[in-house]
Symmetry: C2
Subunit: 130 residues, 2 copies
Amino acid sequence: MSQSRDAILKAYHGYLACLNARDWAALPRFVTTDVIRNGAPLGLTGYRALLEGDVRAIPDLAFEPSHLVCDPPLIAARLVFDCTPVGMLMGLPVNGRRVRFTENVLYEYRDGRIAQVWSVIDRTALEAQL
Amino acid sequence: MSQSRDAILKAYHGYLACLNARDWAALPRFVTTDVIRNGAPLGLTGYRALLEGDVRAIPDLAFEPSHLVCDPPLIAARLVFDCTPVGMLMGLPVNGRRVRFTENVLYEYRDGRIAQVWSVIDRTALEAQL
């Protein structure tokens, strides 16, 4: 599968649309079965469980990049979340408050799908809003 | 000044070498006078003060990218820090312990210099080591 800049950008937009539609059945089109996140070999099952947990904690979670940086086989994104987590989030009692925080995340693509993820979420910014 | 991928990569490596050498006098070659960091218009003076503060807190701070993603005018980096902060760091009492944490950071280049920075540091990983 193509790993050109355009192909990776298209695949990444498809991945975000998949998450925003909660279309978990389609996730294997966008993520490899042996995906690794922040060094942890979650695999597709573990990665899907992580995403499902995020959406349970944040029912109105929308994945919207403010910036994309694509340099095959890598792509980096800055994601800006404007949402209302229902209970605890990253150990913090958000409890339905509306919060805004960011994630800077890098991905490595292999054969058109996400094989590795390196994510940092701005928990400090979240904490400052509580 | 060139904003090609190679030119930005070269300028970014120069910027990291400048930081690692604590060569603050050279910083204007790498950073615009009106630099903005995470939405704050620090300017070169404020940005230099921030970096000098980081180095006071972490005398052995070394800026080493594990991944670079260059897509002009943007470049993203994952920086891995393996260091011994002397006192408090990001509100946490590190007090000379050796810690390892990461930063995912995006930069926008303008005329060969850094004009905007969007940084997220993994404070949670740091906290988990204390």
